[in-house]
């Protein structure tokens, strides 16, 4: 049996894949949900295990994704952290990048640093940009620094020195000495977190890593211990933000890599599904209660970026974390997003959300604002028996009340306001989807769209139509897809190093030796976890730009070896630059970052196929009601239980397919096919 657990904001999910002991083929999937327990996250996991009646002694593989890191950051529940940096530069952390995204607001407030100035210490030392020592490291002041740290009850120390990305020698010596002087404080240095340049971003990454270090270590240790007590034989694997899993020991050294593990595993689940279905180009959309997240998958690969920031918005600069995170665009539009009218009389939807409490007006828990979910009810797109997992009936009086001020102001009927809300919400999501596709030079017609999360299937058909994607896929278990993705992930580590060189033949040796060094580092790390050389698969990327530019384009160097011609890499870059930015230049090409992906493949199960029992479509249909499809008209529409659908069934729109966790809207233009795995495939009828 293989198990994955995913801690989300509201629920902790468990997916258990049962395998036939003889054949190893999957026989079925069990899904369990229980409430997330923020004060004691591992309790939520134990609850799902108990609720799902899972015997940990029979588990061969256990993967786990957790929000413990992002929670500690956003709720400011991390450790008291100090910073040690190069003399003259302790204010780098607070000066940050000096930008003001809220640029027309002269009364803005800058976000405060995670380490106050009195805990930012300096040591004498200096490297130049080539990594040569200009001033030797002087550690004479460390005792005094540690004394202050002890007095101030500091729990973690972040060390970040100038140009350490190039030469970490001084950082290594400092960490060693600090550990020797005081073993009670946890220490992390920038070279352990990132080997990329930009001192503010690196300092911020290191400080935030230090900030979550004690709490994450403690959590991981307890998790291991408690699962062990319940009979789990092997240590669990942990999901990271780069879409791969890793060993618990590895993540303990640098827990910040877990920061966005939830969204990452959802996207990797979609990729795994794509592989089974033979779809390599995907747009993945996850619509939850408050936000929608999307990512683009090309050739079965999703881009990894280190330009990640927490608490970044249109008005705030946020805090950068240079850790590999899959490239996701997130917008403030979900089922709970509130419709409101500004002073100029314009209606907006989101980013404010009614959340789970009080929730949309239809919940009848005192929600006074009309939300996207309410609009879906008004248009008849959600069946009352399937509202909120069938747990309660929509409160129509409450909807009426919430709609009234909007109707009066806009001089429109409730139905028109609802359609307006859906149009605006869809338009917001289309803009986000364009950001990752059209704006980057991709044609959506080459992509299939996979929708997951509670709201994905509700809006998917309209969005697919607007974007003109080739097909829409609503996977089975779309609601717990993040956990599902973990079962399909490999062990993956990303190594990224800044080393700026011009791409000329004389530099070939540097390119070769840098990748070699990185391979050695990766091999060494994997060896510590007991993996052999031959199991490791390397993939090589380079971040390239025209000399003089600042931003780069990531280029995959396929089959990199000693014979790879430099010209091939340069040609790849010209092509990629033209695709993304519409022009190429006759200028020298510079390499900025080396990016090595080291993966160890985990044996993965197939997706289980649904058993055909010979049910009919008529049996699955449970109601017929009027549904408003906006510009496509109001239609008498058949409603189906998803649980009653079987492979090879075909349903022509208009239709609504209901299940506990979500509802799939099929417009009059769409046809649904149910595939062998129980996924719904929606395509537009040829006119």
């Amino acid at each position: 049996m293989r198990v994955a657990t995913d801690i989300g904001g509201t629920f902790t999910d468990l997916v258990c894949l049962e395998l036939n002991k003889q054949t190893g083929k999957p026989t079925g999937v069990r899904v369990t949900k229980s409430d997330t327990t923020p004060s004691n996250f591992e309790q939520g996991i134990l609850d799902t295990i108990e609720k799902g009646n899972v015997n940990l002694g029979e588990i061969d593989f256990f993967a786990h994704g957790t929000t413990v890191v992002i929670n500690a950051l956003t709720e400011r529940k991390g450790a008291k952290t100090a910073l040690i940096t190069t003399k003259g530069f302790r204010d780098v952390l607070e000066i940050a990048r000096c930008n003001r995204p809220d640029l027309f607001n002269f009364n803005f407030v800058k976000q405060p640093p995670f380490v106050p100035r009195y805990l930012r210490f300096e040591v004498e030392e200096r490297m130049d940009y080539k990594g040569r020592v200009l001033k030797a490291l002087n550690m004479a002041t460390l005792k005094a620094i540690l004394k202050t740290c002890t007095e101030e009850k500091v729990e973690a120390i972040a060390v970040c020195l100038l140009h350490a990305y190039k030469n970490p020698e001084h950082e290594i010596a400092l960490v060693k000495e600090l550990a020797k002087l005081d073993s009670s404080i946890q220490i992390i240095a920038s070279h352990q977190v990132t080997r990329e340049w930009r001192e503010y971003e690196r300092t911020s990454s290191t400080v935030l890593s230090g900030y979550v270090l004690p709490i994450a270590k403690k959590y991981l240790d307890q998790l291991k211990e408690k699962l062990g007590q319940q009979g789990l034989r092997d240590t669990p694997y942990i999901m990271q933000s780069n879409g791969g899993i890793t060993t618990l020991n590895d993540v303990k050294n640098n827990p910040i890599t877990m920061v966005e593990s939830g969204p990452a595993s959802g996207v990797f689940g979609a990729i795994a599904l794509g592989k089974v279905m033979d779809r390599k180009h995907l747009i993945v959309l996850d619509i939850g209660g408050t936000t929608a997240k999307c990512a683009l998958v090309e050739n079965g690969q999703v881009k990894i970026t280190t330009n990640y920031k927490i608490e970044h918005s249109r008005t705030q600069a946020g805090y950068p974390i240079q850790t590999p995170v899959i490239d996701i665009v997130e917008i403030g539009n979900g089922g709970g997003s509130i419709a409101w009218i500004d002073e100029g009389g314009k209606m907006h939807v989101g980013p404010k959300s009614a959340g789970a409490m009080p929730g949309p007006a239809a919940y009848g828990r005192g929600g006074k604002h009309l939300t996207t979910t309410d609009a879906n009810i008004v248009t008849g797109r959600i069946h009352p028996d399937y509202f909120l997992g069938g747990e309660l009936q929509p409160d129509y009086t409450s909807i009426e009340k919430a709609a009234k001020p909007l109707c009066e102001f806009l001089e429109a009927t409730k139905e028109d306001v609802a359609k307006g809300i859906l149009r605006i919400a869809n338009s917001n999501m289309v803009n986000a989807l364009k950001l990752i596709s059209v704006n980057k030079g991709y044609d959506p017609r080459d992509f299939a769209m996979v929708v997951i999360g509670g709201g994905g299937a509700m809006h998917g058909a309209d969005l697919a139509r607007e974007l003109q994607v080739s097909e829409l896929i609503v996977p089975l278990n779309a609601g717990v897809f993040s956990a599902f993705g973990m079962l399909m992930s490999d062990i993956r580590r990303d190594y990224i190093r800044t080393n700026v060189i011009t791409l000329v033949p004389e530099q070939w040796a540097v390119i070769q030796s840098t990748f070699m060094e990185m391979e050695e580092e990766a091999t060494k790390n994997f060896k510590q976890d007991g993996y052999a050389n031959k199991d490791i698969k390397f993939t090589y990327y380079t971040d390239l730009r025209y000399a003089g530019q600042e931003h780069y384009v990531k280029v995959l160097v396929s089959d990199f070896d000693a014979n790879t011609p430099l010209d091939t890499i340069i040609q790849y870059f010209h092509k990629a630059h033209k695709k993304q930015y519409s022009f190429e230049l006759d200028t020298q090409v510079e390499l900025v970052n080396f990016h090595l992906v080291a993966e160890v493949e985990v044996e993965k199960p197939d997706f289980p196929k649904l058993v055909v029992q010979g049910k009919t479509i008529e049996e699955a249909c449970f109601d017929t009601r009027a549904v408003d499809f906006d510009d496509l008209g109001i239609h008498e529409t058949a409603f189906y239980h998803r649980s009653q659908l079987e492979p090879n069934m075909k349903i022509e729109g208009p239709a609504v397919i209901a299940e506990k966790a979500t509802t799939t809207l099929v417009t009059p233009l769409h046809i649904v096919h149910v595939d062998a795995y129980g996924n719904l495939l929606l395509t537009e009828e040829k006119a």
Partner: protein, 557 residues
């Protein structure tokens, strides 16, 4: 239901602005564009009314629509615009002009042979020739010394690039690759915008598009009027000054009279000093752009910029003043005058609307241009950048530290690690200073020291730090802050203090210390809670002595 369609078109226009903005940032070759984001992109209708704008800097708010209107004035009848044309312009005295370094790319958008819109951008190119590297001089007396003037010319005609113009640019600038790279980045951004505008029109139809943009402009105006109603009506006046013109002459007063009614905002700068010898002059079109940014800050700061939101604002000033300079006056340091003008209106109105405007901030771009030959690569470099300093405190919070001036916005400092690789410079410190000031119930933000040590074999620095003799201002009982200036610390131990300086020769081992001001304080210092004062002392933002002298708080020894 049409109402909602119009809104969706408007959102699509704003999204297009964002996309053009990113394209320019990611493809540009000038750090002042891709790090300082000293540029703006926009979409106007066929007549030059601003529909959407993406800004890196606040100050280019009147730059894009005006430059399109000036383009339309030049190209009409026989000499008309055709599909595939691209016009470039950097004229300072007309069409939203600022200084020669800011070059606009104007791209007419055609739909079935009809001119339907423009996409446009304006960006600070690091090099455009002229007497000194970086095309900025504090001692220029005529525009001819400030670089190459591109007076609304077609760099592309019916889809074909005019190679003669490209060659002309190439042979007149110091960093031709970078300058031409910026040109192509500008064209690429405009082109992408044009494509999106056309696809919007294709989807919704031209009539609906036109209706949406009219509706959008009216919406902007409504939003603005609502906000204007909340500002107390009245006539407010004030004076500020430009301390120095780069020739040791000055100060030169700038005067403003602000009239606020429920539906109008008039800024009258008549009575300001006449245009001066030197480059500290601002053309009238630059003044309008500055006033728009302050006006937006107090009316619709969170709304996407659109032309309708500026309809209630008027700027008045007769020709030939220091804020309405005419040809051929030098203007390359226009930005210091622009910020002084913004700061003047700010200071006049802050006591009336302290919830929208804090006390005085560093009030200077503190721009430095350092040039030389890189010690390792042998290549010519110019490091051009704005510097951060302290902002003023407000009625609700302490002043921010480490922020660029109001003229910058989504602009970034240059990372030390990138700087030291690219330029012949080593940074010795990058830290808050405590040169005093900014005391109040809310404390002004500390200014900074940035020390650049020259490691190339010689270098030159050009810089303008106004505020060398005038402190940033406190508000409602808060104390004034401190000064902006820069020092040259010679390796022989001598030092010189400057406010404006052009091409000051430096030797290897000399250090330039840039000092940016601490912001003004807000309210009576006696009202500041003791624990806040003690924490400031612990953090070293103020000294023990200051705590005692200005806050009557005695920290423990």
């Amino acid at each position: 239901m049409e109402k909602f369609t119009l809104e969706i078109i408007q959102d699509a226009l704003v999204a297009t602005g964002d996309e053009m903005f990113q394209t320019l940032q990611r493809t540009s070759m000038s750090p002042i564009i891709y790090e300082s984001l000293d540029y703006a992109v926009g979409i106007t209708d066929a007549k030059g009314e601003l529909l959407a704008q993406g800004n890196g800097v606040t100050a280019f708010l009147a730059a894009l629509d005006a430059v399109v209107r000036a383009t339309l004035e030049k190209f009409h009848e026989e000499n008309t615009l055709n599909e595939g044309d691209v016009v470039i312009a950097n004229t300072p005295y007309a069409g939203g002009g600022t200084h020669l370094s800011d070059v606009s790319v104007i791209y007419p958008v055609f739909y079935t042979n009809e001119l339907v819109a423009f996409t446009v951008n304006k960006a600070h190119w690091t090099e455009l020739g002229g007497t000194f590297p970086g095309s900025v001089s504090t001692v220029a007396t005529e525009i001819f010394q400030e670089g190459l003037h591109l007076p609304f010319i077609k760099v592309r005609e019916k889809g074909k690039v005019n190679e003669a113009i490209v060659d002309l640019i190439k042979s007149n600038v110091r960093l031709p690759d970078s300058t031409l790279g910026d040109l192509y980045a500008g064209i690429a951004a405009a082109e992408i915008g044009a494509r999106r505008v056309i696809s919007i029109i294709e989807k919704y139809g031209l009539d609906t598009f036109i209706k949406a943009k009219e509706d959008f402009l009216d919406y902007g105006e409504r939003m603005c009027i609502e906000a204007l109603k909340k500002i107390p009506n009245g006539v407010y006046t004030g004076t500020s000054e430009i301390e120095d013109n780069g020739f040791g002459e000055g100060p030169f007063p700038i005067k403003a009279k602000i009239t606020v009614t429920d539906n109008e905002f008039i800024a009258d700068f008549n009575g300001s000093h006449s245009q001066v010898k030197g480059a500290t002059n601002l053309a009238f079109s630059g003044l309008v752009t500055g006033c728009r940014s302050l006006f937006k800050a107090i009316t619709t700061p969170s709304m996407a910029a659109n032309g309708g939101a500026f309809r209630p604002m008027k700027v008045i000033c007769g020709p030939g003043t220091i804020v309405s300079a005419e040809a051929p006056s030098a203007v390359s340091v226009y930005y210091e005058v622009l910020i002084t003008a913004i700061d003047l209106v700010w200071k006049i109105l802050a006591p009336v609307i302290p919830d929208k405007l804090p006390a005085g901030h560093l009030r200077s771009v503190c721009a430095t241009f350092i040039s030389g030959i890189h010690q390792d690569t042998g290549q010519f470099y110019i490091q051009a950048e704005p510097l951060a300093g302290g902002w003023g405190a407000s009625s609700s919070h302490d002043g921010n530290r480490g922020q660029l001036s109001c003229g910058s916005g989504e602009s970034y400092n240059i990372p030390i690690e990138i700087r030291e690789m690219r330029y012949g410079i080593q940074v010795e410190q990058y830290a808050f200073h405590n040169e005093g000031g900014g005391y109040g119930e809310f404390q002004g933000g500390n200014g900074q020291y940035v020390d650049y040590k020259v490691v190339s074999n010689g270098a030159y620095v050009t810089a303008a730090f106004l505020g060398e003799k005038t402190k940033t201002w406190g508000l409602n009982g808060g104390h004034d802050g401190s000064y902006n200036y820069f020092l040259i610390l010679r390796k022989d131990g001598t030092q010189e203090r400057h406010s404006l300086g052009t091409n000051i020769a430096l030797e290897k081992g000399d250090t330039i210390r840039c000092v940016t001001a601490t912001g003004g304080g807000y309210g009576n210092p006696k009202d500041r809670p003791k624990d806040k004062v003690l924490l400031d002392v612990k953090n070293g933002y103020i000294s023990k002595k200051e705590a005692k002298a200005f806050y009557s708080v005695q920290p423990r020894e």
